[in-house]
Symmetry: none
Subunit: 131 residues, 4 copies
Amino acid sequence: MLIRIDLQSDEPIYVQLFNQIVEGIASGALRPGETLPSVRSLAADLGINLHTVGKAYTQLRQEGYIQIHRQKGALVQPGPMPEADGEFFGKLEKRLRPLVAEAICRGVDERRFCEVCGRLYRQFGKGGVGA
Amino acid sequence: MLIRIDLQSDEPIYVQLFNQIVEGIASGALRPGETLPSVRSLAADLGINLHTVGKAYTQLRQEGYIQIHRQKGALVQPGPMPEADGEFFGKLEKRLRPLVAEAICRGVDERRFCEVCGRLYRQFGKGGVGA
Amino acid sequence: MLIRIDLQSDEPIYVQLFNQIVEGIASGALRPGETLPSVRSLAADLGINLHTVGKAYTQLRQEGYIQIHRQKGALVQPGPMPEADGEFFGKLEKRLRPLVAEAICRGVDERRFCEVCGRLYRQFGKGGVGA
Amino acid sequence: MLIRIDLQSDEPIYVQLFNQIVEGIASGALRPGETLPSVRSLAADLGINLHTVGKAYTQLRQEGYIQIHRQKGALVQPGPMPEADGEFFGKLEKRLRPLVAEAICRGVDERRFCEVCGRLYRQFGKGGVGA
DNA sequence: GTGGTCTAGACCACC
DNA sequence: GTGGTCTAGACCACC
């Protein structure tokens, strides 16, 4: 899977990496159980620091998206993905709220907002985990 | 309008303030043309530094949500709110993408995702700018 | 002559007033010797502070664009306008330099830059002092 | 590149700094991709506060003249410079208008005015971005 | 080491 | 009184 890091973004690199791996899982580019490159090799490929990759991997593990084995390295969660519990929906709402508020201020109604969401779903929807 | 700042949050205070004012506009708690408290008084009320409030106000002005008059203080944009142009939708998609990806990984389908959005729209929708 | 003050501009009101009166002279809307409204009446018309108008008038007098008489009030310089001496050209260059620099950075060449200047000259050029 | 700050000037320090960096880019003294001194070191060199430098850098970034990398520091925009769109020409006209008006009042015709512009173009033109 | 955020406190222009 | 600018100094995330 192709990963693109934008060094001049104000988004921390480890967050970009985290997001792109989650997006890879969502799109099916990364399948459950699939091995991920080692911290060392991914850092080398992307030209970034070992610690940065390590931080992204650690966070992915903490949220249940990947597993990390001392010897075998990292792999996409082969078992059940983390579930969408109340905590998840709580956080989701918290992160969505400012986006919705800005959209409302600019006159974007619910239908158009959901169209954007739908477009994203379709972008990911080709062969993803839910397929 | 009640504003609550979480000093422990990892979200910068000025961002929290920015978001809450935008949410106030979206909900109608802040009406177009309504005056906002002065930088000094709001800072005192919230127990934060006036520069932090100033930074939030400056950003709100840059994005067109408020006007700042050098000696009369700040007011909610009385004229047309910033429009939802291509740039806005581009940024919106960029900010929505990781949320959608995480939702997909957890098995949340488009319908349920849009339900969350819809709930937020209804939260804001009572007497908001579009009403 | 119509004067428009933008209260939400970051340009001080007295500067806006100064500029618009100079522009009125340049365009011929204000003729040499023509009387200007009193500080008091102009302030009332524009809904701004007396001192603000006073400051603009004082500056216009200091630079030779108008005369102020205790009894008769203010009038457009009836005699020779301030001349374009070395000091003037020095200041002009200083104020033009950042504009030219920004234009160059954006790939605007001298010809196009001067076209903009020429357009402004033509805007003013109908019946102005040089006509 | 030599930067000179006039602490007595009524022009804010961060604006002086902004302008001089833009002028450095226009003249070619600062090349695309070239690294700029860190906020701290430039502040120390100029004997001003690091926040003042930070404000200038932030504004330069917002207008697309430089990039800021969170840990590598700032560099002159290596890619395409911000383009001269309608917004730019609108602002340019607004800033040029009072200069042209004053020039007209003093009997400076379009030809002489453009000669001054041309002289500035030639000052910058030796090895600049357009060269 | 780098920029980002926050605080405390000062002075200024404007009106 | 209002926002704008500047300083000094601190802590933080990132890498």
